[in-house]
Amino acid sequence: MRFSLLLSLFLAIPAFAQLKWDTTEQTLKAKPGDREVVATYRFTNTGATPITIDNVHTSCGCTTAALAKNDYAPGESGQIVARMDIGNRTGHQEKSIVVTTKQNPRSPMVLRLLADIPEPVVMKPTFVMWALGESPTPKIIDIKVTDGFPVRLLKVDSDNPDIKVEVRQVHPGVELEVKVTPKDTSRPEMATLLVRTDYPSDNPQTYYAYVKVK
């Protein structure tokens, strides 16, 4: 009797969450033209009692998570659709979606959304600087269209006539070498270089590089 009691205590397997997820982490790669990244997380209530999802919280204001309803009967399936707005984001992004149930509020499930967002146009570097009094030796900014993006680099302008730019077409329209030279470094100067493109066709984007003498 005593043995059975002790054994039952050890056999009390931790109460696993009733929700079984198909996957809790998704890695997505944004394609040219994408404005958002969408991940779907499917789940099933594998428990014997109904379960209520009472909170879905995302780690970033840029991400929303939608749930069709809150209550799920035993055996019932559902899904959470997470959407991350790309905006100015580029490179590797990691967002999390925290799902809390009414039945197990202290053990939320954390879903992860990993996204790789390529940049249509890459500039290296995006700024050049000279210290006051430094020799006005030219500095180079390389501008390149990322493979797969139907972008043409049209022209590069400086908004300050005292900051001179010379553009060399490495591969016409897709790769440029921009030589930047300040006329004078004896006083503070700044300029914005406007890199004009034809993409996207409905609202062609301009990229910016910055020049400073300080």
């Binding site: 043995f3 002790l6 054994l7 050890f10 056999l11 397997i13 931790p14 696993f16 997820w21 809790t24 780690s59 970033c60 204001g61 840029c62 905006g87 100015n88 984001r89 580029t90 490179g91 590797h92 992004q93 990691e94 967002k95 999390s96 053990s107 890459v122 290296k124 570097p125 995006t126 700024f127 600087m129 700044m190 914005t192 910016y208 910055y210 400073k212 300080k214």
Partner: protein, 140 residues
Amino acid sequence: MTALRQAGLIWLIAVALAGVTAAVHPKRPSFLAPPRDPNEVTLAQTQPWTGTVLWVDARPDSEFASEHIPDAVCLNFENWTKQFPKFLDHYNPGQKVVVYCSAKSCQLSREIAAKLRASGVEEAYFLEGGWEAWRQQNRP
């Protein structure tokens, strides 16, 4: 003696169950700590940089406006085009830059630091624990 045997048997069953849980539980902990990101710094590591480091606040504008590390610059993805030139007003080549966001769980500081490095800021790091860690240290 019987009690000892029973205890041993129970111990064996417990170990076996723990092994099964460790192998199949969806939330099992990792026994191998993930490698630390070389661009992550702690507050203690930033102390020798006091007075020269440029702090970058990657949180939304409203949180920056409410409170931030003294002399920090606000820079986030939402307003990058507008805020990056202001960042350059404060930045000098070679300067160490440390980006922070709200807490340890937040990824924004890591992402903004990566974008800064891609832009040409060579020494851009992100702060472990973020603003929460700063406040806990009760620094000015």
